[in-house]
Chain length 205, copies 2
Amino acid sequence: MILCDIGNTTVDWFIDGKASKQSVDNFDPHLYTDKVCYINVNTKLSSLLGSLDHWYDISQLVDRDKYYPTMGIDRVMVCEAISDGVIVDAGSAITVDVMCNGHYEGGFISLGLRSAQEAYRQLSPALAESFNFEVDLTIMAKNTPDAITIGFLAPLIDKINSLGKPIYVTGGDSCLFSSLLPDVIMDDHLVFKGMQKLIEKGQLC
Amino acid sequence: MILCDIGNTTVDWFIDGKASKQSVDNFDPHLYTDKVCYINVNTKLSSLLGSLDHWYDISQLVDRDKYYPTMGIDRVMVCEAISDGVIVDAGSAITVDVMCNGHYEGGFISLGLRSAQEAYRQLSPALAESFNFEVDLTIMAKNTPDAITIGFLAPLIDKINSLGKPIYVTGGDSCLFSSLLPDVIMDDHLVFKGMQKLIEKGQLC
């Protein structure tokens, strides 16, 4: 089975249990003759993908009433992968979602690590520092890099821990987050697991 | 006594218990013939202010060993105003500092409300929403404005509350923050109170 997650800048593949990535600029869906199950947030490619017989849009299989209308399809997919837990998708934004016995309880969206550091940089040259991922997030800071790291990460990590459920971490910054959250389950393929679950339910592909 | 807090864009005055503000563009320190006690972060004005006999730089009275070297003088002043408590200065950045029996315990720096909203906007047009200050911060969100509001504010408010001390709020967004924090002490003049305390200790002006 070929799974494909199409974003605005990259295309992620999951073929026979192996993940790979390519730039959207080099992406030509005509090259694939096998059936491909996909999700897509790239509006420029929607018509083309919709016109190809062997490309199946998995988003059609989602019971959208479980979620809210403007919720991104990637975020829906990571939720579909987990029936009970907190799912942290640490990418350009950090989405935090809560699933409880297969029901979506809601979530929130924080800035991503790079986005937050850029926002500090834009506030003041004095705050144009890199986060210090070695800092103890339970203390108060006495220097600028620690002050912005603790200011951004400590409240977020505390909030995620306070939700009292198993924590699953995925996304490009998952390694960094898993080092900050104890007993976390790191899984870089949650979006594909969600797609697979939906396909199995819908008997598609 | 005339107190003056000089920033990069505005100059704040505190004269006979009354606060006022002016643009730095219209600021001419020669116009004042009475003694003025000031703090200044505007490097363009440092030499001029230093050359005027009746302008006293209050930052000289601070025991800088209590704080850290790169800590802003405005932030030091609000700490000097409080001997025991958490001080939240909600301006372009949100600084949170902890004082314990007159000792500085450290703090952290969050993005300001406008800065955070701008960072969400830059991340994605889908996140270019205004914060919803009516939202219940204790729940998980099921729409985008609530998701970014809870994502930014709920962890921060929880963290401030968890510090377990009386909370003092100052700065331009103090009203908004005081509505989110129960039993908070709102004080728009903390920076001037800190200056006054230092002056009384130092017998200056």
